[in-house]
Symmetry: C2
Subunit: 135 residues, 2 copies
Amino acid sequence: MNPITLSPIGRTRCQLKTRDETPKNYTDSNEPGTLVIDPQYLDALDRIEVGQTIVVLFWLHEARRDLLKVYPRGDRSRGLHGVFATRSPMRPNPIALSELKVTAIRGNEIDVLGIDVLDGTPILDIKKSIGPDAK
Amino acid sequence: MNPITLSPIGRTRCQLKTRDETPKNYTDSNEPGTLVIDPQYLDALDRIEVGQTIVVLFWLHEARRDLLKVYPRGDRSRGLHGVFATRSPMRPNPIALSELKVTAIRGNEIDVLGIDVLDGTPILDIKKSIGPDAK
């Protein structure tokens, strides 16, 4: 199949500098951070509001792409799992998915709670949440 | 920012041949389909089971990438919205996100319910569901 080319729409700014201090999932995180969106996409942010939960897709630029099986959360007692049956950051296309609460908006900067990625992580997309948690 | 290169992990096989007949979201769909995964990723499917809900990321290969505002679901009465405040297929990086119910597995083919993309749509990733709907 033909390769696909993406350009990040922005980058994550947060206090998480190492994997050890980074929550394993957004469901475990109350970490604040800021989605710094490229100003060329400012119009695409229209109608995002404080208090909403948004779906954010990140590009895990430091993740290994060559592993097909992992121990979920590094727990060897659970045995190896196919990466597609886990939320491991390691996968052929390392895109992460988080649902984040919007706490403030300043132009092209969106403050959120629930960050589970490293400072500097590229952002690929933002979507309205439509799950049962949607606000 | 540097561009990112992805390779699809497989393709969608389903009866949806035109946009008009395609449900707007997985939450509106009971459409069956099959995720045909490239055999090189067979090990990565280990532990996906019938009855589970899986998160699937698709590459919307026919979507426009140059629009920053849209009428959600084509409904002009709602006014224009920034694409990042919607689930529109049109967005700078047209990645779609669906939660699909697994109904059968045959090697590298996974039958699912809830399809909301066209036949032939490339698949980028599969993840365990961790939301409140996870089974």
